[in-house]
Amino acid sequence: MSFPLLTATAVLPAVGAVATAAVPAARRTAAKWLALAVSLGTFALAVAILVRFDPGGARYQLTESHSWIAAFGVRYELGVDGIAVALIGLTALLVPFVMLAGWHDADPLETGSRRWRPTQGFFALILALEAMVIISFEATDVFLFYIFFEAMLIPLYFLIGGFGDRAHEHGEKAASTQRSYAAVKFLLYNLVGGLIMLAAVIGLYVVAGSFSLTEIAQARANGSLHMATGVERWLFLGFFFAFAVKAPLWPLHTWLPNAMQESTAPVAVLITAVVDKVGTFAMLRFCLQLFPEASKWATPVILVLALISIIYGALLAVGQRDIKRLIAYASISHFGFIIMGIFAMTSQGQSGATLYMVNHGLSTAVLMLIAGFLISRRGSRLIADYGGVQKVAPVLAGTFLIGGLATLSLPGLAPFVSEFLVLVGTFTRYPAVGVVATFGIVLAALYTLVLYQRTMTGPVRKEVSAMPDLRVRELVVVAPLIVLLVFLGVYPKPVTDIVNPAVKQTMSDVHKTDPKPEMEAAK
């Protein structure tokens, strides 16, 4: 039997989390380095997956399968397709940067306390989260996926509720109240979604008699498993609701701004760039594959909701006064694009949506992490408290602008490719939807440039006049991400090559083909 690469990729950070948590209180620097080393090791394993993965090969590769709870037919089944490989790569790539960015975020305020070990906790929780996210990307057993889909709420809850911005305009007490509000809100939203999904998971087992994604999909494909239309729709809705909460789709989005606003920038990055991607990923992998007919049935409504997300998120981003909240609403807009791409049911749309997941992870990471650096310097999240930063910290402002340009999908940066694919993919099937969604790119320019203008340009405000520029550590975090953004914007082929076969499979799952161009259709 070959080396269980997928298991190793998930287990390494899990073990690392335990080890990091066990580092004695006084040696917090050692804990940080340990965690960073583990995350880099995980990245190496992810690269190994990437190398071993053969885009032209079987649908699920590097599969592992072991019996787990025999009584219910629950199996420990792992396997990755191109979409999963891309997202695992993204996750493993971002975590080391996130750690570096949050290097000092969890240092205890008063030193010398022996029992208080927030640093270890912070890094251990990040690793634990990484492990859970990776295994949910790998799982091809619905039950296994469900467990980790839910379990990742636990570390995230503590990350949101336990670690906030160091300086806060309303004082520490108010900050902690708002933090716990945000954490509880996050938890409740996602738990409700998860519980509804659990019902659907059980329902699926009752109907299909198995939790195995591959088995069910196969049985559906060859007609040996017939689902009544009503049953399929209900099950689909159960799954979709959970993913829509996590993604988040309007009107289930309100937890995200709170969570991102109150958590530290690295955690906020983990939320949008990594964890929320599990939701959109699962729509592709589970909703479409298990319930193709119901997916097609629900498409009109979902497209409308996605459209509302796009426009609504962008409009609200324009109206925000808080930098992080603004980025959160921008993300809601972008998730609208992703979901739209998935449910447009064209290969451009779905490839675009998958690329979008990766690219949005990178672009939000850049923007959010730099916003975090900015906030930690000034001690305020309010846009109005800044002005003229460009003059005192040109590199910070420049990288922030690049992050912003990526967010508004400027060609040459990675998000453009995916956004355009999504738009084209949607347009060919639903022209009106595509046209309305295009307004989103104007609004994206509006909120990004307004943010940049108010914070970075204009006369230098007194409070920011002594602001230091990006430090080496911060530059090390940002620069590779920017390079990657540019590279994937100019040459996205490496990712599309991995993604395309998987998308082709998904398209055949839902029995859809791309609409023919009008010209050929006329002939």
């Binding site: 409009l315 109206g319 090559d497």
Partner: protein, 631 residues
């Protein structure tokens, strides 16, 4: 030879990367690196040009395939460049004028501590602009299209510490984005119609598509062109864009970027030819803009804004010509090129004036500068003569052909369009004469500023005057060089196609009418600004003047409808998001909380109370068991 095409772009791109990433180390030499790379691109352009000239007319299209950019099933966007006569013309214009302006900027930006970055942005612009004109498909064109938008944004807002500059930059980007949206939709429409958006296949399959589709595509392309070329209704950003350094105004907002819309229309000639309705809209947009810009140009006291109005108006001519179809394409491009020379020259002259006048832009505070800045005066004056269409100079040839073509459109439309073009020519003569008179003639009107320092007008250094001289030469001889023997027509015809319209008026009649208009315009300006001294404080002016000073109320309209309305919309949405969407959830939570608060009272802490409920529960269980039995 094809492989050189990528180098055209690579040179300035390399410059941008080196200058922007290189950091302070390059401060001392950065501007020379930038200029050298721009010049290198120009040289490569010349080499390619020579190569093209060496080929027969139908062999003059070179393509270079670099790599597959976005390969997704059925959607193939390649990084492929296409060099034909049209793009060659642009390459030479962009790199030539670009190199000159780089050189000029070395002097103009000498005292700016961020000069290195300025050159980085200029190089970035060159790269993006070259990408725009060299792209072989619409998506790559879109890449360049937004790239120049970014460069324009960065350069307009170069002096970011000035809030006006930052706002103007943002405005320019946003208005351009609206246009970009049009281009994006056009690309999607092409993909949905033809299954591709590469130039070759699209143009060859135009005949297979329905006219409705073509009209939709053409109108979306027009929207894009309106945004980039500052045509009505998306023209409002150009005036504000003058907040940027003057070389930027010369390069981007006069000579090259703003003409990208014309390029787009001419490049998509095949599509427009198939959609006569859209062509009509194009001509209307062009005609309206040429008058709009001209009127605005008459009222502005800011020398750069007056020139910006002029730019708008001249591009209006080009769009008008492009909308006329095969009879106008060539002349649109020809006017574009000559305009590139003289307008860049005019802007550089304006920059030179500002340079000598402590960055004063109000023409009412100039006056009599011809004595202090002879070189600037002469070059500016030649540019002036060129733009008003003085016989023999560039503008005369190119504008005259456009007016002719407008009449040649035929029918009522032809008369209206031709009349508008003629009227525009008169107004052009008026406002340019006004600029000339207010700046270089009359008495000196400048005064010491608040700090008591009086400006000491002086001629600019050589690095600045040399480009001005070169451009002036171009302005004088360009038109004649192109027109004599119809050189330009023959050069460009294989790409755009050409047909002679049947003008109701003979060529000489049109020329004569143009001359009459010219004289009227100049005379009117002389009557108002030459004969009597110019007041330092602007008079209140007529209703039209006041409206024109405010860009014919376009900004006020935008402010009231879009900005205010948008603010209200977002604010109410933020409120609704908090109260309604969040409120529903929080309300559910609150009601559960209230219910449990009431339930909590059952937990009174008395063991006996709990025992009662337990006992009651047991009784219920017994009852349930009995009932089940009974049933």
């Amino acid at each position: 030879m094809e492989n050189l095409i990528a180098l055209l772009i690579a040179a300035p791109l390399l410059g941008a990367a080196v200058l922007l990433v290189g950091g302070r180390r390059l401060d001392a030499v950065g501007h020379w690196i930038g200029t050298a790379l721009a010049a290198a691109s120009f040289v490569i352009g010349l080499v390619l040009f020579a190569d093209l000239l060496g080929r027969s007319a139908d062999q003059r299209t070179l393509t270079q395939h670099l790599f597959s950019w976005i390969p997704v099933a059925g959607f193939q966007a390649d990084a492929t460049f296409r060099l034909d006569q049209l793009s060659m013309t642009f390459v030479l214009l962009i790199t030539g004028v670009g190199s000159l302006i780089h050189l000029y900027s070395v002097g103009y930006m000498e005292h700016d501590e961020r000069r290195r970055r300025f050159f980085g942005y200029l190089n970035l612009f060159l790269a993006a602009m070259l990408l725009l004109v060299l792209a072989d498909n619409y998506l790559l064109l879109y890449f360049g299209w937004e790239g120049v938008g970014l460069a324009s944004y960065l350069l307009i807002g170069f002096w970011q510490h000035k809030p006006a500059a930052a706002t103007a930059a943002k405005k320019a980007f946003l208005v351009n984005r609206v246009g970009d949206m049009g281009l994006a939709i056009a690309v999607m429409l092409m993909f949905a119609t033809f299954g591709t958006f590469a130039f070759g296949p699209v143009f060859s399959h135009v005949g297979d598509a329905s006219e409705g589709r073509l009209t939709a595509i053409a109108l979306m392309l027009l929207l894009a062109a309106c945004g980039k070329s500052a045509q009505v209704p998306l023209q409002s950003w150009l005036g504000d864009a003058m907040e940027g350094p003057t070389p930027v105004s010369a390069l981007i907002h006069a000579a090259t970027m703003v003409t990208a819309g014309v390029y787009l229309i001419v490049r998509s000639a095949a599509v427009f030819n198939g959609a006569p309705g859209a062509q009509l809209v194009v001509t209307v947009v062009g005609a309206v803009t040429l008058l709009f810009g001209a009127i605005v140009g008459c009222a502005k006291d800011d020398i750069k804004k007056a020139l910006a109005g002029s730019t708008m108006s001249q591009i209006g001519y080009m769009v008008l010509a492009a909308g006329l179809g095969p009879i106008g394409y060539v002349f649109a491009i020809m006017h574009l090129v000559t305009h590139g020379f003289f307008k860049a020259g005019l802007f550089l002259g304006a920059g030179s004036v500002m340079h000598g006048m402590n960055d004063e832009v109000d023409m009412r505070k100039y006056g009599g500068l011809r004595k202090y800045m002879p070189v600037t005066f002469i070059t500016f004056g030649l540019g002036y003569l060129a733009i008003i269409g003085f016989p023999g100079l560039s503008g005369f040839f190119s504008k005259d052909r456009i007016i002719e073509a407008a009449f040649a459109k035929g029918g009522t439309e032809g008369w209206i369009l031709g009349g508008a073009a003629l009227l525009g020519a008169a107004i052009t003569a008026f406002y340019m004469t006004r600029v000339m008179l207010m700046t270089f003639f009359g008495e000196k009107r400048w005064q010491p500023d608040e700090n008591g320092t009086e400006p000491h007008p002086h001629e600019s250094p050589g690095v600045m005057t040399i480009p001005m001289i070169v451009l002036a030469v171009g302005s004088v001889f360009g038109g004649a060089f192109f027109s004599i023997g119809d050189r330009f027509l023959h050069w460009l015809e294989p790409v755009t196609g050409h047909s002679e319209g049947n003008s109701p008026l003979s060529a000489w009649t049109v020329t004569a009418a143009t001359m009459v208009c010219l004289v009227i315009g100049v005379a009117a300006a002389w009557a108002q600004y030459g004969r009597k001294p110019v007041p330092v404080v602007a008079p209140r002016g007529s209703l039209l003047t006041r409206a024109a000073r405010r860009d014919l109320l376009q900004d006020d309209f935008n402010h009231v409808v879009l900005v205010r309305g948008g603010e209200h919309l977002t604010r109410s949405l933020v409120y609704l998001d908090h109260t309604l969407v969040d409120g529903v959830v929080n309300g559910t939570a609150a009601s559960v909380g209230g219910l449990s608060g009431r339930m909590r009272r059952l937990q009174n802490g008395f063991a006996r109370s709990y025992a009662v409920s337990m006992f009651g529960g047991a009784a219920l269980l017994v009852a349930a068991t009995l009932l089940m039995r009974a049933v």
